[in-house]
Amino acid sequence: MTTAINVSDLSFGYGGRPVVNIERCTLTRGQSLAVIGPSGCGKTTFLHLLAGLLSPDAGRVQLMGQDLSELTGSALDRFRGRHIGLVFQQFHLIRALSVHANLELAAKLARCTLDHERFAELYRMLGLDGLQQHKPAMLSQGQAQRVAIARALVHRPPIIMADEPTSALDDSNAERVMHLLKDTAAAADAALLIVTHDQRVRGALDAELELEVLA
């Protein structure tokens, strides 16, 4: 089993106030982890540290064996694009581009060759057939979320991270999205990490990491 995420002695704070303090966290490909905790406990900050969007004050983050502290600037950006698929709570689709162009852009930024079979497979799997040329503004909430998931998966990343993917959804939709994320991650043999304060996620994934608000 390949270790996808390996975190040790990680700490981070804002202006001297500690926000994240994690001694150890490991996730292998094909496994899923829920990072849960109340608002302000540093879940999103932890996700940003894992994605290399923030630099830790101390400790180490390794993704697919690569220590992120060894990467700087554009190398880190490229590594992120190639190895991580990110799903945001607000989807953050690029407004100016169509559904297909959003997926194409993600694939290109991951420096992948465009695989049209992959696109077709995702459209079919996520029920997006017929929406390829739609702009994000024309999509329903559910459609936009599925496009966001498709975009995170298009380049077959070994790690998928989702930030509060269910917090704005009702029970049935939250369950559907969780299934979707788990199934697609499993199909891609990707490590799935979901940060959420949504208690409904508890027990839905292989493991849980509960964070607390630090004093």
């Binding site: 999103t44 992120r80 690029i94 100016a96 162009a101």
Partner: protein, 434 residues
């Protein structure tokens, strides 16, 4: 290609703003291109028309008027000068070539010039058919004159009195076309050339007609009663009724000409000859080179004003691009952060913003160049038929290449600050706030 496509898509998000920016850029560029093309071609044309003419000898008056009338055939002459006085200077050893001009009549909008065949040398004019004039009332027509008036060999036409169309017609003594000139791209294309004798003879007859008012000669084609025509043609003796386009004392004495075009044997002549000629109370010497530069200077002030206005348009377009991109930056922070999460580098975000500015300027400037050249071509066509000034839009000036690149850069410069802001986007903070 990815970033160009994204930049284009982003611009399409605000189609009205993008269209206004492109329009401003287009209008500014087209104005500059138009002025550049017109200015350079007019300057070139003026220089070409005056090539080989070092000095113009004419009656006292405005030197610019003398040059405009004798070299460019675009103004009324300052008056007549005694042929003998002019010939005295023509015989000066410092003069290599002297070409007398006798103006006063026209055919349609084309001036009839009584002169010698030496004038053909000045403009490197050659005959495409026929021969030079030999006898009185024989004429050689310039290429544009021949085409516009459908004048071929053997054609006969009656001249009108005066330098503007519509004067009394000398139909009692028509000219006969004996030669047609090949196009030269100079003012000679729009002239009717004949001998000095033709002009003198015609006006001698006029004087006879005038003295025999109501007698043998009538000016029937003018559409006016013979008596009135006779009065009109008597401008010389009746200063209260000046003739069309001519100074009052236009009467043709066989000893008078309108001007003489002189070419120096050596440039050293320019030092003393004009001063000596100007000392003569009846004569004036005007150097086309000096007068042309004076005209261009006057013209240049107007062109500079127009050019300044065009640059104001360009600067406005640049500021408008800046305002549009900077204004959209706030709304796009999340997109920029998302792009970083997807693997875009800071440099690529900067590039994407620069491309948006560049795209606006490339489209605007390209359309502006197209509009400028097409407008020049259309304007040239109109000026050619209305004023005989040949201007074309199908010409690329060396200065345009620099202008093109410079104007392309306007968009990139306008996008520089938004691009730096995009570069500095902090994805973690932006995403945490959204």
């Amino acid at each position: 290609m990815t970033w160009l496509r994204l930049a284009f898509a982003n611009l399409c998000l605000s189609p009205l703003s993008s269209a206004v920016n492109v329009l401003l850029m287009t209008l500014g560029t087209a104005s500059i291109v138009l002025l550049l093309l017109a200015g350079s071609q007019l300057t070139e044309r003026m220089a070409r028309d005056a090539r080989g003419i070092d000095l113009v000898l004419g009656a006292k008056g405005s030197p610019i008027q003398l040059v405009l009338s004798a070299v460019y055939h675009a103004d009324t002459p300052t008056g007549n000068i005694p042929l003998q006085a002019a010939q005295r200077w023509a015989a000066d050893p410092r003069i290599a070539r002297a070409v007398p001009l006798s103006l006063g009549d026209s055919y349609g909008e084309f001036r009839i010039v009584g002169t010698t065949t030496d004038i053909l040398e000045i403009y490197d004019a050659t005959l495409i058919e026929g021969r030079p004039w030999k006898k009185s009332m024989e004429a050689v027509v310039g290429a544009a004159t021949a085409e516009a008036q459908s004048l071929g060999l053997g054609a006969r036409f009656a001249s009108s009195h005066g330098l503007a169309d519509g004067g009394p017609v000398h139909d009692y003594r028509p000219y006969e076309v004996v030669g047609v000139l090949a196009p030269t791209g100079t003012v000679i294309d729009r002239l009717v050339l004949t001998s000095l004798d033709s002009v003198w003879d015609l006006h001698d007859v006029d004087h006879v007609g005038q003295s025999r008012h109501g007698g043998l000669i009538t000016l029937s084609n003018s559409g006016r009663p013979a008596v009135q025509d006779a009065q009109t043609t008597s401008a010389n003796t009746s200063p209260s009724t000046p003739s069309v386009g001519l100074p009052e004392e236009h009467a043709r004495d066989r000893n008078d000409i309108t001007a003489m075009l002189l070419s120096y044997r050596s440039p050293i002549a320019a030092i003393s000859l004009p001063r000596l000629i100007n000392a003569d109370p009846a004569l004036q010497a005007a150097a086309p080179a000096i007068e042309v530069s004076r005209v261009l200077q006057l013209l240049g002030i107007g062109l500079d004003g127009l050019e300044a206005f065009a640059w104001v348009l360009i600067v406005t377009a640049g500021l408008s691009v800046f305002a549009a991109l900077y204004g959209s930056l706030h709304a796009r922070q999340r997109d920029l952060a998302t792009l970083r999460c997807l693997g875009a580098t800071r440099g690529e975000l900067m590039l994407s913003m620069l491309l948006e500015g560049l795209l606006l300027s490339v489209v605007g400037v390209t359309l502006g160049f197209l509009l400028g050249h097409v407008t020049m071509e259309l304007l040239g066509g109109w000026l050619q038929s209305a004023r005989g000034i040949e201007l074309t839009g199908w010409r690329w000036l060396p200065a345009e290449t620099g202008l093109l690149l410079g104007l392309f850069a306007v968009g990139a410069v306008a996008a520089a600050i938004p691009a730096v802001q995009a570069y500095r986007n902090d994805p973690a903070r932006t995403l945490a706030q959204s």
